[in-house]
Structure formats: C-alpha cells, structure tokens
C-alpha cells in the first residue's frame, strides 16, 4: 500500500531535528511485520553479545550479559532470526564494539518508528537507550568525549 503523505506528515518529517533516519521516505509504504522489523536488532544483539564475551573483563562481562538479555527479550517479542550480522570494521575490540553499538542503535531507531505492538515499541526504545548508554561507556574507555549529540541515532561520529 502506498499512502499519500499529509501536510502534517510532511511537517513532522521536517521536524526530525538532525535525525537522518532510514525509512522516512515521502512515499510511505506499509511497513513489514514486527518480526521482520525487529530482526536486525536481534542480529546486532547476538553479534554484540559474542564480541563482549570474547573481550572479557568486567565491562565485557557486564555488557555481554546485557546483550544476551536484549536478544532474549527480542526473541520473546517475536523477532525473526537470520537477519545479516551488521558489518563492523576490523581493529581493537572496543572500536569494533563501538561500531556495532552504532549499528544496533540504527536498527532500534528504525524499528521504533514502525513496529505496531506497543510492547515492541517500548522494547525498541529501551534497547536504544541501552545502546546509547553503552556507547558512552565505550567512548569513555577509549578516552573520547562521552556525549557527541543530543539525538543518539547511530549516525553521529563514534
């Protein structure tokens, strides 16, 4: 289904205030089912859990547990399996983790606007908040500025 965008929709699209988001085309199509929308978030959580487990240490252990919990909650919400693992550059584990957290953030933001089930909307927002939190923790470990944007959507500089 292709819907005509209302004046309000156009205004709202312009109100993103720095949010350069996927899925904001002026021609709005019927979004895919929630299971499909949540699948990239699940793939990112699984990839992050594995990475943090391999990294080890106190922070690695803590974040691995958080990501395993994310994956479990996403599966309970009906997230589909088999979405591609997000691409991340090679390099030190913290840098790879930061890139993966940014990819996870983008997946959560995309899903948050489109999922139909209220519980799935709340879940994606909570996972987004957690990914944003992890990003600050990783930046601090890397000796970088913790806050880089007022709208952590995964498109700010890591």
């Amino acid at each position: 289904m292709v819907a005509t965008v209302s004046r309000r929709g156009l205004l709202a699209a312009g109100a993103g205030a720095g949010l350069a988001l996927a899925g904001c085309d002026l021609q709005e199509e019927e979004p895919p089912p929630d299971s499909e929308l949540l699948a990239p978030s699940l793939a990112a959580a699984v990839a992050l859990a594995g990475l943090y487990e391999r990294a080890g240490g106190r922070l690695g252990g803590e974040l691995a547990a958080r990501e395993r919990s994310h994956a479990e909650r996403l599966r309970e919400a009906g997230a589909g399996e088999g979405a591609p693992t997000p691409e991340a550059p090679g390099g030190p584990p913290l840098e790879v983790a930061l890139a993966l957290e940014q990819a996870a953030t983008r997946a959560h933001v995309h899903a948050a606007g489109l999922v139909r089930a209220p519980a799935a909307r709340a879940l994606t927002a909570e996972l987004l908040a957690d990914a944003a939190r992890h990003t600050v923790q990783l930046r601090e470990r890397l000796g970088r500025e913790g806050l880089t944007t007022a709208f952590p959507d995964g498109r700010d500089d890591a």
Binding site: A12, V109, G113, A122, R133, A150, P152
Partner: protein, 163 residues
C-alpha cells in the same frame, strides 16, 4: 518525569474547571490531542532540564543544558505540526517538577549529583510512558532518541560519581 502537579498544572486545571470544561480522562481524548498533550508534557520536562542544568553547578555537565534545549526544540516542531501551542522556556523554580527542583535544592556536589541521576531516571521514564500516545513514526523516533540521550546523561553522571 512522572505525572507532575506543579503550580503551572494546578493553575491550568483550575482555569479549565472555572471555564466549565470537563477535564477528560486520558483514555477518552482524541488520539491527536493525546499525542499533543504528551508532547507538551515532554517539552515542559526538557525546558525544566535545560533550566536546571543552566542553574546547577555540576562538573562535567556543561553540554547537558544545550542538549536539553535541542530536545525541546525538536519536540516543539512535532507539536507545531499538530497545530498546538508550544510551551515556553522555564523561567523560575516555582514551575519546576519536584524531581527537577530537588537537583537545585540539594546541598553539596555528591547530593546534587545523586538528585541529577534521579532526575534523569524520571526523564527516561517520562519518555517511555508517553510512547504509546504517539502516532507519527518520526515523532516516536524523536522521543526514543531523546530518551536515549537521557540514558547517556545518566551514565555520564554515574561515571563521574564513581570517579
């Protein structure tokens, strides 16, 4: 940001009652009105946060007031798209929600930091509670990223607090 009953809210409620308007239960509000009301509440909370971080002296939080102002502006754009009036900036402590006022009333760096952490938790909760009342995908995304920003503010406070 739980339900607040500030002087501002009490005055608005009194004015509505005096004018003979029935104050509708949230469930019975039209969906657009509910979204607008939710956005209005969120903007007020962000304006409060900008005021608090401008007034409070807290190490390592120089960026927070500006970020909270950016949140308010982004949310205001969505509210304007609904044709609803945008609340102005917070100008004094008398209009602050209790969680916001507690930051300014705390004495000592550590106590103020702890209150700021509690305030950030209330802002996160406030965003989460209002998500079901939003309709436009981009509005949902803006509120979700504002919520994520407050999660970042919270962890920043925690990192400073733990040294």
């Amino acid at each position: 940001m739980p339900e607040r009953l500030t002087r501002r809210a009490a005055l608005a409620a009194a004015a509505a009652g005096a004018a003979g308007f029935a104050i509708a239960a949230p469930q019975s509000l039209a969906r657009g009105a509910s979204e607008g009301e939710a956005l209005t509440e969120l903007i007020r909370a962000e304006e409060d946060a900008a005021f608090v971080y401008t007034e409070a002296v807290l190490d390592g939080t120089a960026a927070l007031a500006a970020q909270d102002s950016e949140h308010a502006k982004a949310l205001a754009s969505h509210l304007e798209a609904l044709g609803m009036p945008v609340p102005g900036p917070t100008r004094g402590t008398e209009d602050l929600a209790p969680e916001a006022l507690a930051v300014l009333e705390a004495r000592g760096d550590q106590a103020r930091r702890r209150e700021a952490m509690a305030f950030e938790r209330s802002l996160i909760t406030g965003c989460l509670q209002r998500l079901p009342r939003l309709e436009e995908p981009n509005t949902v995304r803006t509120v979700a990223t504002v919520m994520a920003s407050h999660a970042q503010h919270l962890v920043l406070h925690e990192l400073i607090d733990h040294g």
